[in-house]
């Protein structure tokens, strides 16, 4: 019997009073894939991720993560997922090691200290472990956030703009690390990003969102071919500005 997909979303809708933030979207993320959510500000990316993490209850539709219905059995799925976002911090007065211990307990990670040491080696955190998390640079905080997100060896990893506000060198380091980690672990990654080069490099499949709706989807290569563009940034601008429709009518 085949395993259920990592993520299966059907008719997912979120309405806040008069605002339709996400409008009946459907998508499936296969296990081991890296899946990108693309869209401008207010497209519905963060709302979708919040619903996938059960932080937000959908107005309609269903979400299954690793076969678990998030409306009824979210804690079974959450134990096998994790999340990183530059917009959600870790307690700044706690050291990196203390923060990782807290989350190792919350995710009931066995052999906690060995796991922290392994992550420290992997993410080059050795010198940072006993420093308060609030005193780290943006790049160091990103590495610590990744360590927190990997503390439970998640089967599904959700990343909201993982390289936002990082310098190009650190951003490239994070992207290379994610590529290697996915190849080694077989983990499914869903990332939301504004960085088109990042999405093109990391993702097998991309979902383009605009005003809460899916406006296109496919592999980066297929999207480039379909839009006749050289990079995803141009594709993004075509969609965001309805450039193709404008060109056709001209």
């Amino acid at each position: 019997m085949s395993l259920p997909p990592a993520i299966a979303v059907t008719g997912l809708t979120k309405r806040y009073d008069q605002v339709l933030a996400v409008d009946a979207i459907d998508f499936t993320v296969e296990r081991g894939a890296t899946f990108g959510l693309l869209g401008g500000n207010g497209a519905g990316k963060t709302t979708t991720i919040a619903m996938l993490l059960a932080l937000l209850i959908p107005t309609a539709g269903s979400i299954r993560v690793l076969g678990h219905d998030m409306a009824r059995d979210r804690f079974a799925a959450l134990a096998r997922m994790n999340f990183s976002s530059p917009y959600i911090a870790l307690p700044g007065r706690l050291t990196v090691r203390e923060n990782l211990r807290v989350y190792a307990h919350l995710y009931t990670v066995p052999a906690m200290e060995a796991r922290i040491d392994a992550l420290a080696r992997d993410l080059d955190l050795g010198a940072l472990l006993d420093r308060p998390a609030g005193q780290l640079s943006a790049g160091q905080k990103t590495r610590v956030a990744l360590a927190k997100a990997l503390i439970n060896r998640p089967d599904v990893l959700l990343l909201d703009e993982p390289t936002a506000s990082l310098d190009p060198d650190t951003g490239d380091w994070v992207r290379s690390w994610l590529e290697r980690y996915r190849a080694e672990s077989g983990c499914t990654i869903l990332l939301a990003s504004h960085n088109m080069a990042e999405v093109e490099r990391l993702c097998d499949h991309v979902l383009m969102l605009k005003q809460g709706r899916i406006v296109d989807r496919g592999s980066p290569a297929a999207l480039l071919e379909r839009y006749g563009r050289a990079d995803l940034e141009e594709v993004f601008l075509d969609i965001a500005r309805d450039r193709r429709a404008a060109e056709a009518s001209a």
Binding site: A54, F83, I88, A89, L90, E98, V102, H105, Y107, P132
Partner: protein, 279 residues
Amino acid sequence: MTGAARRIWGMLYRHLALYRRSWPRLLELAYWPTLQLCIWGFTARFIATRLGSHPAGPALLTHAGSAAMLAAGTLLGGVLLWEVALRGQTGVALSFLEEVWSRNLGHVFVSPLRPAELVAALLGISLIRVLIGVLPAVALAYFLYAFNLFALGPILVLFFANLLVMGWWVSLGVVSLILRHGAGAEALAWSVLFGLTPFSAVFYPVAVLPAAVRPIALALPSSHVFEGMRAAILHGSIVWSQMGWAVALNLLWGAASCALFARQFRIARERGALLSIGE
């Protein structure tokens, strides 16, 4: 350790680690109980001295002096026990606010930590805060005013437990309001239970209150605890009916508070408030 116990310990560890490296937070725990004790202790000593030197003669002097000492005892007992409720309430609410202030709530709520486990951890932290905050004041009351709270005997455990539980259900109400209204409601963390002080009969009997507000006082477990405390100090007797009322009211208010928290938590998840609660 079971999964639930480990997750609760994770949240306890988070706060213990915070206190371990933040002496201002530790100082704050004992600051208010000690300050209150000093203010009321010296006030009680002043009143006892004045009554003790009443000009009506030696017989009255003896009688008034001993009554004044008992009155001072009820004042000090009231201060110390009311601090249990106050510190219990702020302990839960401020521990929750620590997560809001550190913008960490998102990580906590996407972990497998159940809401009930979060509440259990907040209650545990609150108990630790109460012990750290109130025990120095209890010791100070003994050394400064020769008032021994433990002389109340085993009934003290019931007084302590009822007031702590009352602080907890009030704080769950405050956390519910923070979930509903965001950090804009954080001032309530310090003020709500303070506002119940006049109705809690901490320093005077319920009978002193105007008839119109007595029902409010009698609906609070604290008024029954303090009536019981006065009976124990003044007459050396345990009024079990008062304890029965306190326990029953705590169960009632506690259930209502849990229901409110569960409802507000769900509404927060519907409105997306867990993402923007710090604003």
